[in-house]
Amino acid sequence: MDFFLQQLINGITLGSVYALIALGYTMVYGIIQLINFAHGEFFAAGGYMGVILISYLSAQGLHPYACLAISLVLAMGYCALLAMAVEQLAYKPLRQASRLAALLSALGMSIFLQNGLMLTQGVYDKPYPTEITSGGFEVGAISVSYMQIFIVALTAFLLVGLNLLVFKTRIGRAMRATAQDKVMSALVGINSNRIIALTFAVGAGLAAAAGIMVGLYYGSVNYTMGFVPGIKAFAAAVLGGIGNITGALVGGLIIGMVEIFAAGYISGEYKDVFAFIILIGVLYFKPTGIMGENVDDTRV
C-alpha cells in the first residue's frame, strides 16, 4: 500500500510535467492543426535558460528563492519569444501549404533548435544547482520531496492562470473563437496572426516552466531532453482530446501515472514504451480522446 501511494505521488509529479508540455501541443493543434514537432525543444530550452539564469543570479548573491522565481519568469519569457520567432519563420508561411510541408518544417526546426542548444551549451549534461531542490519529509514509509510539492503547486498555479486567461479574459475568448472558426473570427475583427502567435507563446512558456522543474528534479538538463518527453506529452494531449485544455491536464496525469506505475510494477527499462502504447491505442480506438477534440473544422 505504501509502495502504491509512493508511486501515486511520483506519478502525479511526473504527470504535472507532462500536462504542462501537453498544453502547448494541444493549444497549437487546436488553432492551426499543426503538430509542433519543435515544442519539445521549447521544453529543453526552458530547462537550459533556467539553469543559466539561476547560476548567474545566485553568483550575483541573490537569495535562492528569488533566483528561482526570477529565472522562472525570464525563462518562460525567453521561450515565448523563441516560439513566436519559430512560428513566424517556419510555420506562418506554410499555413496554406500541405500538412506534410508544415510537419516537415516543424521537424527541421526541431532538429535545428536541438543542435542550436548543443552548439551553444555543449553535449554534456548541464547540472542544476541542488541547494534549492533538496529536502523533503516522510509520512510513514512514504517520502515526499519539497521539489515534488513545488512541481505540483507550480503546475496548479500555472493552470489556474491559464484558465483565467482562456476563459475569463477577452483575449482568451478570442483564442477560443479563433480555434473554433478561424474565418469567422477574422470577420468579427480578431487578428488571427496575433492570436496564433500568442498561443505559441503561452504554450512555450508553460513548456519552459516544465523544463526548469525537470532540471531541478533530476539535477541536470541535456540538449536531447526534449525528444522523448515531447512525444509522451503529445500522447497525453491526444489522449485527453487534442485541442482540449482540460484534456491535456487529464492526459498528462494519466500518462505520468501509467509510466510510474508501469515502471514500478511491471518493468523499469520499458517504461517509455507504455506512453507510446497508450498513444497508439488511443489513436486506434478513440482518436478524439477522452474529453473530445476541440479543433476548427470549418473552412471558407
Binding site: 477577452r170 475568448r173 477560443r176 474565418v183 473570427s185 477574422a186 470577420l187 468579427v188 475583427g189 480578431i190
Partner: protein, 240 residues
C-alpha cells in the same frame, strides 16, 4: 443623376478560388441607407461576392471601394473596425462560446465597456430569446436562435454597412419574417444592408434595389420593385 459617392462599390472585380474563377468582373454600387439585394441561382457567386468584399477571397483584379477608399488590401479583421461587417452563410456562431461570449466577440475591437454593456442590453431587447439563453453554449441553440445570435453579434460592432448572407436559410417561415422585420428595423436606424438571398421574393421585397448574378456576372440591375415586376425575373427566380 445622383453624384453621391456610394458607401460600397465594386468595380469590375474578378476573384478566384485557386484556378477556378468565381467572379468574372462584378460591378455594383450600394448607397448609404439602402437595402441592396443580390439574387441568383446557386453557384452564381453571391456568397463569393461578400467574401471577396471582406477579403477572405482575394480579388484578383478590380477595385473594392468602401466610403470611396480602396480596401482590396485591407486585412479582413480591420473591416469591422471601419464599420463593415458580415453575417456569413450558415450562421457560424462560435459553438463552444456562450451567447454572451459570442456577443462579446462581436464587439472585440471596441474598448468602451459601458457602450458594449448597453449594446448587449439593446440586442437582448431585440432578441429576448437570447437573453434567456445568455449563458448557454452557442452550439446548443436551435437554428433560428443561432441566426438571431449571428445577427446580434454583428450588431455589436455597430456596423455602418451590414452584409447578410442567406439569413433565411433553413429557417421556418415565422422566424424568417422575424429576421426580415429586424433587417428592416436596422435599416431604418441607419445601417446600410447588402442582402444575399436565394429566396428572391423575400430579398426583393425587403430591398430598395437589386442585382441579379449569373455565373459570376451581373446580368441585371434595377430597383427592387421593377425586378419584382420583371417577367424574366419572375420566370427564372420567382417561380412563375
Amino acid at each position: 443623376m445622383t453624384d453621391k459617392t456610394p458607401i460600397l462599390e465594386l468595380k469590375n472585380v474578378v476573384s478566384a478560388y485557386g484556378r477556378i474563377q468565381a467572379l468574372k468582373g462584378i460591378s455594383l454600387k450600394v448607397f448609404e441607407g439602402e437595402v441592396v439585394s443580390i439574387i441568383g441561382a446557386n453557384g452564381a457567386g453571391k456568397s463569393t461576392t461578400l467574401m471577396t468584399i471582406c477579403n477572405i477571397v482575394k480579388a484578383v483584379s478590380g477595385d473594392i471601394l468602401y466610403k470611396g477608399e480602396r480596401i482590396n488590401s485591407v486585412n479582413s479583421d480591420i473591416l469591422p473596425t471601419m464599420g463593415l461587417c458580415q453575417v456569413p452563410e450558415g450562421r457560424r456562431i462560435f459553438p463552444r462560446l456562450t451567447v454572451l461570449e459570442n456577443l462579446d466577440m462581436g464587439a472585440f475591437f471596441r474598448r468602451d465597456t459601458a457602450g458594449i454593456k448597453d449594446d448587449v442590453e439593446r440586442v437582448f431587447d431585440l432578441f429576448p430569446k437570447l437573453r434567456e439563453r445568455r449563458k448557454q453554449l452557442g452550439g446548443t441553440l436551435s437554428g433560428g436562435e443561432q441566426q438571431m445570435l449571428a445577427m446580434a453579434r454583428a450588431l455589436m460592432s455597430r456596423p455602418k454597412v451590414l452584409l447578410l448572407d442567406e439569413p433565411s436559410m433553413g429557417l421556418a417561415p415565422l422566424l424568417v419574417k422575424q429576421i426580415f422585420d429586424i433587417v428592416k428595423m436596422i435599416n431604418e436606424q441607419g445601417v446600410t444592408v447588402v442582402l444575399v438571398e436565394q429566396n428572391a421574393n423575400l430579398a426583393l421585397q425587403a430591398a430598395t434595389r437589386g442585382y441579379v448574378l449569373e455565373t459570376g456576372n451581373v446580368v441585371m440591375e434595377d430597383d427592387a420593385k421593377a425586378l419584382l415586376a420583371n417577367p424574366d425575373i419572375r420566370k427564372a427566380y420567382l417561380g412563375e
